[in-house]
């Protein structure tokens, strides 16, 4: 399918890794920070392979903690977290999990191309191969002609797209995004949402998208999990009744408003818990 900002024929470099998403199962997950603040307690969640799930909840409810646990950047104090197929990997292999932060967090001393190639570089992929892969993925996010530029020379939206390209360059089986476009203006944000969804349709990885925006969650995801205030519990787990083909004008349709209202009500219930 054609992307909004990229030529249609921009395939990623072929990889030797298994394609497709990974299934995640969280069971009785608990995380208490030193000092006694319990952020997660008894959380149960199952995410199907290749699905696009939005985690929606109030600020500070533990969404980001949950994402960090799934990424392996933090350890739970209790409960289990299983992936199938398992995501264990040895050194030198490409990372199966990618993480996109709230800010682009690029390395300012590297060109756009070298930023996008970083994950492959750290995995020991040889120069020409990793640069070709980075170039292909930058092409895909519509930055094919900005490869030689530096982060300081880019707009916020462009930087975020480099960040997305960096996440996708390893062909991850699980893509985690922590309110990635929250700092952008409305227009850049909806464009990036569209691009992200198109990339997901094309690549088929599992996506966990954390946001506090109802509209963004509704437009992007197949399924939305609404979390309560800290410690986070699942208030609503809903597979949206919206067409698989999402267009920009969906945001003004009745079905969209109906789903948004349901999410809104769930958020309010979660606040009151």
């Amino acid at each position: 399918m054609a992307l909004p900002h990229a030529p249609a024929s921009a395939p990623l470099a072929p990889t030797d890794e298994g394609e497709g998403g990974v299934r995640i199962q969280l069971s009785d997950l608990r995380r208490t920070f030193p000092g006694g603040l319990t952020v997660l307690e008894g959380l149960e969640l199952e995410v199907a392979a290749g699905s696009f799930v939005a985690l929606l909840g109030p600020s500070g409810c533990g969404k980001s903690t949950l994402l960090r646990l799934v990424a392996g950047l933090d350890r739970p104090d209790g409960g289990t977290l299983t992936f199938s197929p398992p995501l264990e990997r040895t050194r030198g292999e490409r990372a199966p999990i990618a993480y996109v932060f709230q800010d682009a967090h690029l390395l300012p001393w590297r060109s756009v191309l070298d930023n996008a190639a970083l994950p492959l570089e750290l995995a020991g992929v040889p120069g020409p191969e990793r640069r070709a892969a980075a170039r292909a993925v930058l092409e895909q996010v519509g930055l094919g002609d900005a490869t030689a530029r530096y982060p300081a020379e880019l707009s916020g939206g462009m930087r975020m797209r480099v960040s997305l390209a960096r996440a996708l360059v390893t062909r991850p089986r699980l893509l985690l995004l922590d309110e990635p476009f929250a700092a952008l203006d409305e227009l850049s944000r909806s464009r990036l949402d569209e691009q992200l969804r198109a990339l997901w349709r094309e690549l088929g990885m599992t996506v966990l998208f954390v946001t506090h925006s109802i509209a963004e969650a509704t437009w992007l995801a197949e399924r939305v999990v609404v979390l309560s205030r800290r410690p986070a519990r699942v208030v609503l787990d809903r597979t949206l009744e919206l067409p698989r083909e999402r267009v920009a004008t969906l945001r003004t349709e009745a079905a969209f408003a109906r789903e948004s209202r349901l999410l809104h009500e769930a958020l309010e219930r979660g606040e009151a818990l």
Binding site: G72, I97, F101, H105, L122, A123, E153, L154
Partner: protein, 264 residues
């Protein structure tokens, strides 16, 4: 040079001309003897007459200062990397690096003569000791300034310790590192001159510190002024070279470098 930057250069230049004229006028009007306060023209004449010994002395001091600076750059960055590698190590050792900052170099210079013998080597070590601390302190700050999210990113991608140091921490520390080097460049010259006061007497060529001392003993105040000017010129030269190297290195990415990007 654009007209704007020409105008910018004009103001300090005009101030200098006015200041020198005042100095010249007052000293002549009050008939102050040259040995007490020479006129700018007398200093210029002395500098021209003694150009050769001045240049030789500046070269000698410059060499010592350069060796001292290079040592403190290398040792300072290495020490900062070692200290940053463990919280325990930093807590245990960092307080003692403060000695470098507070050590009265004049007081320990005789020790340097004892250990290294009089001459260029002791002078270079004096320059090194004086200029080491700002390199360690600033590089350490830089290494510590890496954003936590970027550390997470490197962890997520399974980066080895050395790769994280080489591809993340050291580049991220570069702006701070260059700040430390700029400070160290000026201090290296000061350390060399002070070292020469105590340890500079040896066979062969004498540095600016020696020239200052001998001009003072002979009450050739005009030559003394010329030597002091040469010393500060030397410091400026080193400072300028380090600043230039820093600006070129950071040109593409750091907002402190002059030619910033053009966001679109």
């Amino acid at each position: 040079m654009s007209t704007a930057s020409a105008r910018q250069a004009l103001a300090p230049l005009a101030a200098l001309v006015i200041l020198l004229s005042l100095w010249e006028g007052i000293v002549r009007a009050l008939a102050i003897p040259t040995w007490l306060l020479p006129t700018p023209s007398a200093i210029a004449t002395a500098a021209a007459r003694e150009a050769r010994p001045l240049l030789d002395a500046a070269l000698t001091t410059g060499r010592s200062a350069l060796v001292g600076f290079a040592l403190s750059a290398g040792v300072g960055v290495f020490a900062a990397v070692v200290l940053s590698s463990s919280r325990l190590l930093e807590r245990a050792l960092y307080p003692y690096t403060l000695f470098l900052q507070t050590v009265p170099i004049v007081a320990i210079a005789p020790l340097l003569v004892l250990w290294f013998g009089p001459g260029a080597r002791a002078v270079a070590v004096s320059s090194f000791i004086v200029s080491l601390f700002p390199v360690i302190a600033n590089t350490l700050t830089g290494l510590r300034s890496v954003e936590p999210a970027l550390r997470d990113l490197f962890r997520l991608y399974g980066a080895r310790r050395l790769a994280t140091l080489w591809k993340l921490e050291l580049p991220a520390a570069l702006p701070h590192l260059f700040t430390g080097l700029r400070i160290a460049s000026g201090l290296a010259v000061i350390g060399a001159i002070v070292g020469e006061f105590v340890a500079g007497f040896s066979e062969g060529s004498a540095g600016l510190g020696i020239l200052v001392l001998s001009a003072y003993r002979q009450l050739r105040t005009d030559l003394l002024f010329a030597a002091v000017l040469a010393a500060s010129g030397l410091g400026l030269l080193l400072f300028g070279a380090v600043s230039l190297a820093g600006a070129r290195t950071l040109r593409r990415w750091h907002p402190s470098a002059s030619s910033g990007g053009n966001p679109t």
